[in-house]
Symmetry: C2
Amino acid sequence: MHKTPEVYALLESYRVGNLHDDDVVDHSDEEMWVREPLRDRRLVVKTARPFNAEIPPKLQIQHLDTPNELFYVRQHMPVPELDPATHRVKVSVGGHDPRTFSLQQLDQFPRVTLRAALMCAGNRRSEMNKVKPVKGLDWAGGAISNATWTGVRLRDVLLQCGVDPTDTKGKHVILQGADIDATGVNFSTSIPLATALSEERTVLLVTHMNGAPLPPDHGAPLRAVVPGAPAVRSVKWLESITVSELESPSHWHQKDYRAFNPSKTWETADFSTAPPVYSLPVTSAICDPGEGEQVKVKNGHVEVKGYAYSGGGAKIMRVDISADRGATWVEAQHLISDDAPPNTHYGWTLWTARVPVGKGQSEMELWAKATDSNFNTQPEKFDDIWNIRGILSNAYHKIKIKLQH
Amino acid sequence: MHKTPEVYALLESYRVGNLHDDDVVDHSDEEMWVREPLRDRRLVVKTARPFNAEIPPKLQIQHLDTPNELFYVRQHMPVPELDPATHRVKVSVGGHDPRTFSLQQLDQFPRVTLRAALMCAGNRRSEMNKVKPVKGLDWAGGAISNATWTGVRLRDVLLQCGVDPTDTKGKHVILQGADIDATGVNFSTSIPLATALSEERTVLLVTHMNGAPLPPDHGAPLRAVVPGAPAVRSVKWLESITVSELESPSHWHQKDYRAFNPSKTWETADFSTAPPVYSLPVTSAICDPGEGEQVKVKNGHVEVKGYAYSGGGAKIMRVDISADRGATWVEAQHLISDDAPPNTHYGWTLWTARVPVGKGQSEMELWAKATDSNFNTQPEKFDDIWNIRGILSNAYHKIKIKLQH
């Protein structure tokens, strides 16, 4: 009786986004979910099962390194419960016997600490979703956080297991987690072997996050961290590493996290020929004030804060803010980051700008735009980068605020 | 008598651009210019003294590696005449005695051949110049060419001269050429020491271009090639290399090739705090057909060709063409490049797209837009990337053509 066109039209106006198959999990087996970890109540939950939650924007910019309990969470499946004392990771390199390493055995390699932001390839999807609906979790700007990661180099482990560093062409490293979907398939994805062996990329097998053992939500007791890449490549609950002439055959690798142009539809997009996304473009977001907020004008200015980030090792060089739709730009005065050089800079950048306000001005539209060390910058609008999966959503962040004099 | 506002207004309409001080050289000493090399008549000359010329767009896309005689030429001063038999390069590393190397002595190091495009940071400035006048040579899209370069690694030379590869922070390598301005100052610029030592960047000291000895216009007998960087860093007629805690003090390094936001003027721009440009953003251009050309429609399509490039080692992943101002996009079908992996990909990419034509359509506006392996893409328009020096001019290339059925 309710299935009338009028009711559908009414419901359509409340739609916040379309889920992708990946985000739809069979919840019928309650047993799968009873061991989920406790989560911080300040996280903004997008889906409860699997658990996906972003960090609220005002908390996001409080710390250069996000506290572990506030780090955004992106799960594909229930969280596996693994015992650090018995956990093993298996490393298979063609032509050599597979080897397994306990956490203690991994400790033979030099320990490395690296600062890197992890960002979901779908961060800021909600803005692209407004141009034309896309499939995927309706992330605002909270699917990125920053941390220091401690572990050992994947490079060192692979070299000890017999990988030939001069023979990387066309080879991949398949990373598999202990998380399993309803059909019994483990999560996996892959990265190019050249990336895994790069001395500049420093791909890590990580046991510690901001100095503490990895929390269950972030891959305890062992995860990969592939700095500069979409976070999906930083496989959690890591249990096997395989050097292969093929990319990961998994659904997550083959049918997702690939880029298309705005004219490709679900019918015309060919995932088998589209390149996997292994690096993220320059982006930025305004975190404080928030959309629609009333802001107090001080000495003729409003203070605006946010983050900026670019993948592939690029460093943020400048953040510009416009309050007049691009006619003039104010450069952010304080960029907080670390001193890792461009090309090997994997952390995010927090910024503060002071934007002048006209006398008696009651409203303001703010645009944020970052420039990285390759001098790439963001596209102004989402139309020309729109894609069916709603990833790489990095156009200028635009918000409207009210001014209080 | 002619110095009236009316005459100035009339002349203004014929202005093609404003020269920067760098491009204005004292020509009074004719003697300086008598040894200039002969140049190919097909080059499009922008200034005769110093010689600056671009390659015509239709020749640009004929070869993956641009023939030496057609490679675009960007000189700051007269071309020095150097004898390969007696030429020496001096290498100074703090704490060690300076060393000098003849070309023969450089041959002790392993020879390396690398494909890299060189692009002037001001390529496509003419398009930015139309938004609001900038200072600099009014380059169309012809200030980029591609070649294979053969030489030895700067890294190997520096290590033999005593550089400590673990102590790169805040250090630079100053590269000085034999070309001299009217006041007796040699051309120089610098790059970060970390870049010079990077195994992935492969900065070269080059003697051969596309298999032949370097031509005089391209730095004979020895030049640097810094792949992925603006061509200004690839110093020609190289005569000294100095590791320093300071960047090059030269005018060309301190007062040029730095990036500003669109609101900075010559009065407010602070070159001392602006970051030097060491890497180039993603760009593309349509080379055939040209602006305003009449194009024959074949089987309901027009064929469009051009180049795309991104600095810092990024590889072009996709080129999209729109014939309806961004409403729909056609992906270029043929991308011609080499198989160097993303992150160490320094050559350009040539592309061909087939764009559908509506029945009876008589005109078409074409937009080109490239996406690189970091999934950065070009800004749609020049307004928000405009800068006083007209560099990094990488918005969509847009042309109008006429259609012949």
